[in-house]
Amino acid sequence: MRIVCPFCGERELGEFTYLGDAKPVRPAADAGEDAVFDYVYLRDNIAGVMNENWYHGGGCRAWLKVTRNTLTHEISAVEPAPGAGAAKVDA
């Protein structure tokens, strides 16, 4: 599998680390126990297209959001994760 880093270009899988589902969003402080339990412990196990966080540790050390089909490993989109590259925040 190869991932096209938006900063570095196409690189082999060994340069990247998989973090997991990019969907969970930290709930508000008053969201309640169920929402926090869901955020911390529960993950979908999708057979198909999902958004994932990957870390380009063997390259530019940026966090990436990768859209990947877990059945075929086909990657349809790669973009900087929110905050990757100081310019992408508060720019």
Binding site: F7, C8, G9, R11, E12, G14, E15, G57, G58, G59, C60, R61, A62, P80, A84, G85, A86, A87, K88, V89, D90, A91
Partner: protein, 208 residues
């Protein structure tokens, strides 16, 4: 009490043996460790990338690279190392952290990496073939032209590699920056990779 010597020594001080190595005959690879350089990492603070770009233009007269490139000025090389960050490689203190601080302190964090990295230059007819065994990026001249840079991994070790200006004999020159503590390991790996071509090993105090 033990006596300590605090002399600055290259991390390759013991590993590097000048002279011929590997196959006999004309050496296909020239490996040179450059032992005397100033290296500063320049990283934009949050939301300050445009200010950093402006400061770089003012300080160096050229735009800092925003893509995987190395830009050469009269007395420094600016090497892209990731989004909104680059290295300044130079000699003689003119572009050390102290010298760069007035221009960059408002927009960036400066980090002196002069003794944290080892700089290895590989050239010769078989330099590309030797590096291709260790690297998964395409080093073909059509793709990796003069001035192309890449933060990548070699033998599971993080490196920054860029192609410098060609030698006077037209041979491509590849520069590799590697963390000091991994330098000896990568050095031996390079020697293993280059042995079949014949290697000429040296070290230099000069950047070019």
């Amino acid at each position: 009490m033990a006596e300590f010597s605090w002399d600055i020594r290259s991390p390759l001080d013991r590993a590097l043996v000048s002279g011929a190595y590997g196959a006999r005959g004309d050496a296909g690879v020239l490996l040179t460790e450059i032992r005397n350089f100033d290296l500063v990492q320049v990283m934009a603070r949050r939301g300050k990338a445009a200010d950093m770009a402006k400061a770089a233009k003012g300080r160096f007269g050229v735009a800092a690279p925003e893509t995987p490139k190395a830009v050469t000025t009269a007395d420094a090389t600016l090497i892209w190392s990731g989004p909104d960050q680059f290295f300044v490689l130079s000699q003689g203190g003119k572009h050390g952290t102290g010298a760069l601080a007035p221009a960059f302190a408002a927009s960036t964090s400066l980090s002196d990496q002069s003794h944290a990295r080892v700089l290895i230059s590989a050239s010769g007819a078989k330099a590309r073939a030797m590096l291709a065994k260790l690297s998964s990026i395409d080093l073909h001249p059509d793709t990796f032209a003069v001035g192309t840079a890449a933060p990548t991994s070699m033998d599971h070790t993080s490196v920054t590699i860029w192609r410098g200006n060609d030698r006077v004999d037209g041979q491509a020159v590849f520069n590799v920056l590697v963390f000091a503590t991994f330098a000896e390991s990568l050095w031996h790996t390079m020697l293993d990779s280059a042995a079949e071509y014949g290697v000429n090993i040296r070290h230099s105090e000069e950047l070019t």
